[in-house]
């Protein structure tokens, strides 16, 4: 999540990727495909492209959710759902937040009658619920705040598989409620960094729901370093875009945007292309170094 200043700078310096952008725009406009996978090695400009796509969503007034995987923050399926919920709007996801709280906080009193087969094998936790008789997600005007705890509480032992199924069902229900007010575009960056179980959840639960039409109005963009292995059924539904290194022409355009003097541009572009093989992150770093050196030399 960039600062506004950085966003403006990166957008101003954006070069090439017209084909990928055209495919993204086509996906937004048609009902043919709902998932786009952008993949390429490190430093090929996935982040810049994603930023451009996010900008496109803003221009079209489309709601979007951005999830960055990896780093220090928790990146399991629960964290991904929480981030999407926070970006789309907490108010649609009461049942999900309620159940997430219930699973992680022993002192939490469920606000919604939960269908979780606990305490006596009944189909609802009426004994623990403050509001009974309400169905999932129907507490008008109340927004349930997530306490954001991560580890399951120890005074119950709901199996992991069950936790995942129930949280996902409630999340999808919430997302569907949000979709009634217009489409949502979900960006997932760094998908190769998530663990195998979360990968499975991503494809078999979230993306499967998009593919099967259970989440009508959602478009998903996955950015990663690795090309996902898709079978024929999936390939029919997914727009794949492999990022390629920048060409000499695009490097020159980039140098111009970065303010490299015209007389030095083509020479520097040839050097940079040879040294970086067109990887945008390396090109950008070299231009940083060149401009700093030039400035220092100018200062004597």
């Amino acid at each position: 999540m960039q600062t506004e200043q950085e966003r403006r700078r990166l957008l101003a310096e954006f070069v090439d990727r017209t084909d990928e952008m055209a495919r993204f725009q086509r996906m937004l406009e048609s009902d043919e495909k709902h998932i786009m996978v952008v993949w390429g090695g490190p430093g090929l400009g996935k982040t810049s492209l994603r930023l451009r796509m996010v900008h496109e969503c803003a221009q079209r007034k489309l709601r979007k959710a951005e999830v960055e995987c990896g780093g220090f923050r928790t990146t399991g399926y629960l964290a991904i759902m929480r981030k999407i919920r926070d970006d789309v709007g907490l108010q649609y996801f009461n049942a999900f937040s309620d159940y997430a709280n219930f699973l992680t906080d022993p002192n939490y009193k469920p606000q919604i009658s939960l269908n979780i087969n606990l305490q006596g094998g009944s189909m609802a936790v009426a004994g623990q619920a403050q509001i009974t008789g309400s169905s999932v997600g129907d507490i008008a005007g109340v927004v349930i705040k997530d306490n954001m705890l991560v580890l399951p509480r120890t005074d119950i032992a709901v199996p992991e598989e069950e936790r995942m199924i129930r949280l996902t069902d409630r999340f999808l229900e919430g997302l569907n409620a949000a979709l009634r007010e217009g489409p949502v575009v979900v960006f997932l960056d760094g998908v190769e960094k998530v663990d195998p179980d979360t990968q499975r959840w991503l494809w078999e639960e979230l993306l499967m729901a998009v593919r099967d039409g259970r989440l009508a109005g959602v478009k998903v963009v996955l950015c990663g370093q690795v090309q996902p292995q898709l079978d024929r059924d999936w390939r029919m539904m997914v727009e794949e875009a492999e990022l390629r290194p920048l060409s000499l022409e695009h490097i020159e355009a980039y140098l111009e945007k970065r303010g490299v003097p015209e007389g030095l541009r083509s020479g520097l572009a040839v050097w940079v292309l040879a040294d970086t093989k067109g990887e945008i992150a390396k090109i950008a770093a070299q231009v940083d170094a060149f401009l700093a050196l030039q400035q220092k030399m100018a200062q004597g």
Partner: protein
């Protein structure tokens, strides 16, 4: 102003920097930068993200204003990204600068900087809440590793144990990724234990081949300690056990046992290894050997006052007795297991033992006691919130109720089981339960309901690709439709005719 051509000078310097690898341009940039700023940038590459507070912790000699200004300058670099956590250096560039800190000549400075960061995040973890606290704990562990490998690795193992126990595998995976950033810096013993923990996780996630390869690699390492070797043999035994390859599993457990018995640090694991070995012999069919090993496991667990170990071994002993059809001995062992669990406050684990007691009493058969224990198992699983467990217990209960002749109760239990299986998307189990309920309806002569269950079960099996089960359900359906009985008055006539014949025979015999 210099007369040099900036392009030529740039190329010359870049060529000179080429040996520094993929981050040559970043190194050149730092070379051109003010030395104090360059040092601050190198320090800022130790954490994954930096902000004014973190840089202040790392370089307390700088003023806050100065650091603020530097942060803004760094934010202008193409490989520095602003995020909600502050600024972060692009992965490849940060990896380069982070690895530079592993050089012996800067080792002391790195340890001091890491210790400062570890303290900083430890304080944050203590006051933060929820996910923020978890993030701070991970960051504390990460920097503690840089400051003091022994403490850092202990902290890593503690976080990993907690995450693995809760089956939060994404957390485990993340912890591994963090520790791997110290590859090349981590002492051999920690590197090997790290590989061991990763293989354990791979096995948890059913990636058995990968787990097996890693355990075998660890065992080939001359630097692996006896404790680690013993643990790796146990895990390799589990891999063979998973494949029901009992001879290989036994060989592994025996090696593990020999190492653990000879090594003080691994001595605590002896009861568990004896149990695993006993269970493997039991599965292989050598019940005498299995019994003797399980008895030793119980004895050692008692000596160590290890109630959890006692419960495990008694439960296995009960399973062994059931194999021998010695139901009384099985019940005795299960009751001892239960007692140990209750004394150890392990309520949720009792559900399995109650279930085993239910099975044992159904072998007697004592249907009333069997049903009572299945109900207790159901009650515990309900307290735990384990829907699948409740559904399985209800299935067992339905079988007992049917054996007692209480078909109505059996159908009720079965119906509840089906609803729970569907609720948790266990569609195969739901189809099995539906097929069984169909049989109960058939016994009650409720053919319409039986027909519906058989048909739905067959359809569910077909959609799950389970052709054998689908065929069995379809066959029951056909059998039900094929049963066209004679009218009642025909049966009455046949019986009457038989009685008359019998009477005539008796009269004939009496006259003779």
């Amino acid at each position: 102003m210099s007369d040099l051509d900036p392009l030529q000078e740039f190329e010359r310097r870049m060529q000179a920097m080429a040996q520094t690898g993929p981050a040559a341009s970043a190194e050149l940039l730092l070379e051109v930068m003010d030395p104090a700023a360059a040092r601050l940038f190198r320090l800022g590459a130790i954490p994954h993200q930096f902000d004014v507070d973190i840089l202040q912790v790392l370089a307390p000699e700088h003023s806050r204003g100065e650091i603020q200004q530097r942060c803004e300058e760094f934010g202008q670099l193409s490989f520095v990204t602003a995020s909600i956590d502050g600024w972060s250096v692009h992965d490849a560039v940060r990896r380069h600068f982070f690895s530079q800190w592993f050089k012996p000549q800067v080792g002391e400075e790195f340890a001091v900087a890491s210790a400062r960061l570890a303290d900083y995040f430890h304080r944050q973890a203590e006051v933060a809440h929820g996910e923020l606290a978890e993030t701070a704990r991970r960051r504390h562990m990460f920097h503690l590793l840089g400051a003091d490998q022994e403490s850092g690795f202990q902290e890593f193992e503690s976080l990993l144990r907690r995450a693995r126990h809760n089956r939060v595998y994404s957390e485990c995976s993340q912890l591994f990724q963090l520790v791997h950033e110290y590859d090349g810096f981590l002492a051999t013993r920690y590197r090997l234990w790290l590989a061991y923990h990763e293989a354990k996780l791979a096995a948890d996630q059913h990636n058995i081949e990968q787990a097996e390869t890693t355990f075998q690699q660890i065992l080939k390492e001359p630097d692996a300690s006896p404790e680690l070797r013993s643990a790796a043999y146990v895990r390799l035994g589990y891999v063979h056990g998973d494949r029901r390859n009992w001879d290989d599993a036994i060989a592994c457990y025996e090696r593990a046992l020999a190492l653990a018995e000879d090594n003080e640090a691994a001595h605590h694991s002896v009861p568990r290894i004896l149990h695993d070995l006993g269970a493997a012999y039991r599965e292989k069919g050598d019940l005498e050997r299995a019994e003797s090993l399980l008895a030793r496991s119980i004895q050692m667990a008692q000596e160590q006052q290890n109630l959890s170990g006692q419960a495990l071994a008694y439960n296995s002993l009960g399973v062994l007795a059931l194999k021998r059809r010695d139901v009384r001995a099985a019940i005795d062992a299960f009751e001892k297991s239960l007692d140990a669990l209750l004394r150890n406050d392990e309520l949720f684990r009792t559900a399995q033992v109650y279930n085993n007691l239910g099975l044992a009493y159904s072998d007697l058969p004592d249907w009333a006691r069997s049903a009572e224990y299945f109900r207790k198992s159901l009650e515990i699983k309900a307290k735990a919130g384990d829907t699948l467990g409740q559904a399985s217990a209800l299935n067992n209960l339905a079988r007992v109720q049917a054996s007692q002749g209480d078909l109505k109760a059996a159908i009720d239990s079965s119906t509840r089981a089906i609803a729970l299986f569907i609720d948790i998307r266990a569609l195969y189990d739901a189809a099995l339960a539906r097929h069984n309920r169909g049989k109960l309806y058939r016994r009650m002569k409720e053919n319409e309901r039986a027909r519906q269950d058989f048909a739905e079960a067959a359809e569910a099996f077909r959609s799950l690709g389970k052709s054998a089960e689908a065929a069995a359900a379809a066959q029951d359906l056909q059998g039900l439709d094929a049963k066209v009985g004679l009218p009642w008055w025909v049966w009455a006539a046949i019986v009457l005719f038989g009685l008359i014949v019998l009477l005539l025979i008796i009269i004939g015999l009496a006259e003779a």
